[in-house]
């Protein structure tokens, strides 16, 4: 893939994850409630995820910008997006009308919906492009 396109994808993905992460870092208690609403994890794991996950997002974003540890950062983003897609899909299938908790900085919380899944599939594609092109260039 054209290296300029790849760089563009990296920067866009980095911006998205840093933005999403900072929003959640500002309000761990609120993000805990958002995760709890999915009813997938017991309380303690919801709170722990709310404390740690935003930092993973921000650090991966910064690494994508700086070009360090790209392979690890992009693989984490791939795994995270698969988890997000699974969580949102299961919430929709169970008829839960809840705030997605995707971008806590947004003033109006965005509900779980097909659009959120589509976004995550796009980010998943971006992360896979970065991960595999990075592996290829390292071989």
């Amino acid at each position: 893939m054209n290296k300029w396109i790849l760089l563009g994808i990296r920067l866009v993905l980095a911006a998205v994850f840093i933005y999403a992460g900072i929003g959640k870092i500002l309000d761990p208690a609120g993000f805990t409630a958002d995760i709890e609403n999915y009813r997938l994890l017991p309380y303690f794991l919801s709170a722990l995820t709310a404390v740690v996950l935003p930092w993973i997002e921000v650090i991966c974003g910064i690494l994508l910008i700086t070009g360090k540890w790209i392979s690890g950062a992009s693989l984490i983003i791939i795994i995270l997006n698969i988890v997000f897609i699974f969580a949102i899909t299961s919430a929709i299938l169970r008829g839960l009308d809840i705030n997605c908790g995707c971008f806590s900085l947004s003033k109006e919380g965005s509900s779980v919906s097909i659009i959120r899944i589509a976004e995550d599939i796009l980010f998943l594609g971006f992360a896979m492009a970065i991960f595999f092109s990075n592996r290829k260039s390292n071989l």
Binding site: A29, N37, A50, V51, V52, I56, W69, S71, G72
Partner: protein, 161 residues
């Protein structure tokens, strides 16, 4: 192998930073095995006197028997239509503005009890706190909510409001 190492580093740094920041965060997540009570306390900057009281099902049923009660379902209208506690009215928190005049006129001297799905749903607490701030004096929260109501073998109504 290199990728795995990077992942371990990233996660370790995130755990350390996350836990450290959470220790000093004004909106810190409570890292405990049990969910903390949703009732506000002094640390939340709310006046204690303004917090609605949470009641268990027994107290809720005693209040129902007294007949001077207004049961308020804080869930969404479509959830309310699918089934609610008999006698309840629906005041989805988002719709509070539209409904409030009606409640104000009819229920000043009644006991208000709010509920929603039960933990972790906190719409009932949010609504009750709002009602308290509107100077309804007797507001309770049946926090265990619909899940607890059904577990105890109680019926639901399905008619529209």
């Amino acid at each position: 192998m290199k990728t795995l190492k990077e992942i371990i580093y990233i996660i370790t740094i995130s755990v350390v930073l996350g836990l450290l920041v959470n220790m000093f965060h004004p909106r810190a997540a409570a890292l405990s095995w049990e969910r903390p009570s949703p009732i506000m306390n002094e640390n939340d900057g709310m006046e204690l006197g303004n917090s609605p009281e949470i009641i268990p099902i027994e107290a809720f049923k005693d209040l129902i028997a007294k007949d001077n009660i207004l049961i308020i379902d804080a869930r969404l209208p479509e959830e309310f239509s699918a089934g609610h506690i008999p006698g309840a009215i629906n005041v989805s928190f988002d719709l509070l503005g539209e409904h409030i005049q009606k409640i104000l006129q009819e229920s000043r001297d009644r006991i208000l009890v709010t509920y929603c799905d039960g933990p972790p749903c906190d719409k009932s607490v949010v609504l009750a706190t709002e009602l308290k701030s509107l100077e309804f004096t007797t507001v309770y929260v049946y926090y265990d909510g619909l899940a607890n109501w059904l577990e105890n073998g109680n019926p639901l109504n399905r008619e529209q409001q």
